[in-house]
C-alpha cells in the first residue's frame, strides 16, 4: 500500500491552490480544505504515518525489556518469510477460495434480487444485511453449533459420503467438519458474502431489464443473453465485489482461529502471536505485516489492471 499512499499523503495541505485571480474566488477555494482538514489530518496521522513507522519497525532489532533500535536489519524480512511462508500461502489460498465461493453464491443471489425481487427488492437486500445486526464473533461461534459432529449438516454430509471425498483431498478431517480448512472457508464465505452481494446488486440493478427482452428478440437464448449482455454490464460489480471480499479475507484470521485447527494457521495469527505474545517478535511481526501489505497491493493492482475497470473509485 505504501507506494500509492506516498503520493496521496503530500497534496492536501490546507492552502489555496486556485489561480491567483479574484480574492472572492480564493476564499471559496479555501473552504473545502478547511472542511476536509480534520479528516485528512486524522487519516494521514493514523493511517499513512503508521505505514512508515511499521516499515521502520520492520528493520529494527531488540527485545521488549531492552527496547528496540533501528539497525536496518533487513534479515527480518527473510526470517519472516522463511518462518511463515506456509501461513502466507494458506492466507492467500483461503482468501482465493473464499472469493470464488462468494462470487458463485453472491451472483445468483444478487441477480435474483435485482431482476426477480420486484417490490420486495429493498426488503431482500435488508435481509442480506440483517446478519450483521449482531456481533460477527458470536455468529462465527454459532457455526461451531451448526457444524458440530452431532449436527444435521455433518450427518447429511456423512450419509452422502461427501466427507469421505473432502477428507481425501485434505479439506476436512475424518468425519468432522469443524476444525478443518473447510470450516474456515465456510466461515469466511459466510462473513464476506454481503461484501460481494452489495456491489454486484448495485451494478445489476442499474441494468435495464428491457435489454433482456432485446436479447430474446434477437434470438439469444437466456444464457447467451446473460453471457453477452448482463455479464459485461455487471463487470464493475464483479470486480468491486471480488476486491471487497478478497482484500479483507487475506487479513482475516478470526475464522481460522475459531473454526480451524493448528494446521490451518494463517498469517494474521502469526502476526498477532509475534506482536502480542513474543517479547522479541515486534520487528519480525512488523516485517510480516509489511510483506502482507505489499503482497496484497501487488495482487490487487495486477487484478485491477487485468480486469480493466478504471471507474472503481
Amino acid at each position: 500500500m505504501s507506494a500509492q499512499t506516498v503520493n496521496v499523503g503530500v497534496p492536501p495541505a490546507p492552502k489555496p491552490i486556485g489561480e491567483p485571480d479574484l480574492p472572492e474566488r480564493r476564499k471559496r477555494n479555501r473552504l473545502p480544505y478547511l472542511l476536509l482538514a480534520p479528516t485528512l489530518l486524522w487519516l494521514i496521522i493514523f493511517f499513512v504515518v503508521p505505514i512508515f513507522t511499521s516499515v521502520s519497525a520492520s528493520v529494527q532489532e531488540g527485545s521488549l525489556d531492552q527496547g528496540y533500535a533501528l539497525t536496518w536489519r533487513w534479515a527480518n524480512f527473510s526470517d519472516g518469510w522463511s518462518q511463515y511462508n506456509g501461513q502466507f500461502g494458506r492466507s492467500l489460498l483461503f482468501a482465493f477460495l473464499c472469493t470464488v465461493f462468494c462470487l458463485l453464491m453472491g451472483y445468483p443471489l444478487a441477480y435474483f434480487i435485482a431482476f426477480k425481487g420486484g417490490r420486495w427488492k429493498t426488503l431482500l437486500m435488508a435481509l442480506v444485511i440483517v446478519p450483521s445486526f449482531t456481533s460477527f464473533l458470536i455468529r462465527t461461534i454459532a457455526w461451531k453449533t451448526i457444524l458440530s459432529d452431532n449436527g444435521v449438516v455433518v450427518h447429511v454430509l456423512n450419509d452422502l459420503h461427501v466427507l469421505n471425498f473432502t477428507s481425501a483431498i485434505g479439506f476436512t478431517v475424518g468425519n468432522h467438519v469443524l476444525a478443518s480448512p473447510a470450516a474456515v472457508v465456510c466461515g469466511m464465505v459466510y462473513n464476506f458474502l454481503p461484501f460481494t452481494v452489495l456491489p454486484l446488486y448495485t451494478s445489476l440493478e442499474k441494468i435495464d431489464p428491457r435489454l433482456h427482452e432485446a436479447g430474446a428478440d434477437l434470438y439469444c437464448s437466456p444464457l447467451t443473453t446473460w453471457r453477452r449482455v448482463t455479464l459485461p454490464l455487471s463487470m464493475p460489480g464483479v470486480v468491486g465485489g471480488t476486491l471487497l471480499t478478497f482484500i479483507p479475507a487475506v487479513g482475516d484470521y478470526v475464522n481460522a482461529q475459531l473454526l480451524g485447527n493448528p494446521n490451518t494457521l494463517v498469517i494474521g495469527q502469526s502476526i498477532e502471536h509475534e506482536f502480542l505474545q513474543d517479547s522479541t517478535g515486534y520487528p519480525l511481526a512488523s516485517a510480516l505485516s509489511v510483506i502482507l501489505m505489499a503482497a496484497t497491493l501487488a495482487i490487487v493492482l495486477l487484478y485491477v489492471k487485468k480486469a480493466g475497470t478504471e471507474d472503481l473509485l
Partner: protein, 299 residues
C-alpha cells in the same frame, strides 16, 4: 482472473433449464415464455432461498442457543430449555462491563467520525478542487485495507510514540474513528448526491441567507444520511475485533472478551447479549421505517 471464469460456472449452474428452452420450437410463442419463466424463477429462487438460509442460520442458532442450559463450560450443543441466562445476563464474569466499555467507545467514535466525516463529505460533493482525486484515494484506502494491516501499523505508531503501557481507551477510539471516517464520508456523500439542487436555489430565490439555506433546507434533507452514517460507524466500532486487539493495551472490549472466551468457556450469556443486540437493532430500524412511512403519509 479465475474468479471471473468461476462466475461463468455460476451462471451455467444457475440456468441449466434455459439452454433447453433456446431450442424450443418458435411456435406457440405466447405460451412458451410462461412455464419456462416459472421454471427459471424457481431454480433461481430456490438458490436464493438456500443462500438466505446460509446467511441467516447463525443468527437463528444464536437466538435459540441463548435459551440453552449447556452441559459443561461450552454452549455449543443443545441440551435443555432454560431462561436463566436471559434473567441473569450479567452474571458471568465482567461480561457487562466489557459490553459497557464497547458501547462507550462506540459512542465516542460515532460522534467524532460522524462530525468529521460529514464535513469532509460536504467538501467532496459540493466543491471541485485540485487535490480532489488524491483525497478520494486517501478516503477510499482505509475501506480497502485489510484490518490487520491497519491494526498492526497503528500498533507500531503507538508503540514508538507513547509506548505500549499508555495504550487503552483513547488509542482504541483513535483507531475506530480512523476506519469509520471513510464509511461516513461515503454514506453522507451518496445522500448529498441524491439531493435535488433546485431546492437550495429555491431557498435562495426566497431571500434565504446561505446560513438559513443550509440549516433549514440542506441539513434536514441530508439528516437521514448522517443518521445512517452515525449508526453504521457505531455498529462498526462496537463489533470491531482486529484493530481493537492491537490498540487496546490491557483494556478488554466485548469482542475481545468473546474471542478470549472461546479458549476458556463460552457461557450462554454471550448468546443472550448477541440476541439483545440483534433485537435492539431490528426494533430500531423497524421503528425508523414506520416513522418514515407515517411522516410520508401525513404529507
Amino acid at each position: 482472473m479465475s474468479a471471473l471464469t468461476a462466475s461463468t460456472d455460476a451462471a451455467a449452474s444457475l440456468a441449466p433449464t434455459d439452454r433447453a428452452s433456446g431450442k424450443a420450437p418458435a411456435a406457440r410463442t405466447s405460451r412458451r415464455r410462461g412455464p419456462l419463466d416459472w421454471v427459471r424463477a424457481h431454480v433461481l429462487a430456490t438458490t436464493a432461498v438456500l443462500i438466505f438460509v446460509f446467511l441467516l442460520a447463525p443468527n437463528v442458532v444464536m437466538f435459540v442457543m441463548s435459551f440453552n442450559a449447556p452441559v459443561g463450560k461450552y454452549n455449543y450443543i443443545w441440551h435443555q430449555f432454560s431462561t436463566d441466562a436471559w434473567r441473569h445476563p450479567c452474571q458471568v464474569g465482567d461480561i457487562c462491563q466489557h459490553m459497557g466499555l464497547s458501547l462507550e467507545i462506540g459512542v465516542v467514535a460515532m460522534i467524532a467520525s460522524t462530525i468529521l466525516g460529514t464535513m469532509a463529505a460536504f467538501a467532496m460533493s459540493r466543491h471541485r478542487f485540485r487535490a480532489r482525486p488524491a483525497v478520494n484515494v486517501l478516503l477510499f484506502l482505509p475501506m480497502a485495507a485489510p484490518e490487520i494491516i491497519m491494526g498492526a501499523t497503528l500498533l507500531t505508531l503507538f508503540f514508538s510514540t507513547i509506548g505500549s503501557g499508555s495504550m487503552g481507551f483513547w488509542t482504541i477510539v483513535i483507531g475506530h474513528i480512523m476506519f469509520c471516517l471513510s464509511y461516513v464520508v461515503v454514506t453522507v456523500k451518496s445522500r448529498l448526491a441524491g439531493l435535488d439542487p433546485t431546492l437550495e436555489k429555491a431557498a435562495q430565490d426566497l431571500y434565504a441567507t446561505p446560513r438559513q439555506t443550509f440549516l433549514k433546507v440542506t441539513l434536514p434533507l441530508v439528516a437521514p444520511g448522517i443518521a445512517a452514517a452515525a449508526l453504521l460507524s457505531f455498529a462498526l466500532s462496537v463489533d470491531d475485533y482486529i484493530v481493537t486487539k492491537y490498540t487496546a493495551g490491557d483494556q478488554i472490549t466485548f469482542p475481545l472478551y468473546v474471542y478470549g472466551a472461546v479458549q476458556r468457556s463460552v457461557p450462554t450469556q454471550i448468546d443472550v447479549i448477541g440476541s439483545m443486540m440483534m433485537l435492539v437493532t431490528m426494533t430500531g430500524i423497524a421503528g425508523m421505517l414506520v416513522l418514515g412511512r407515517l411522516r410520508a403519509r401525513r404529507r
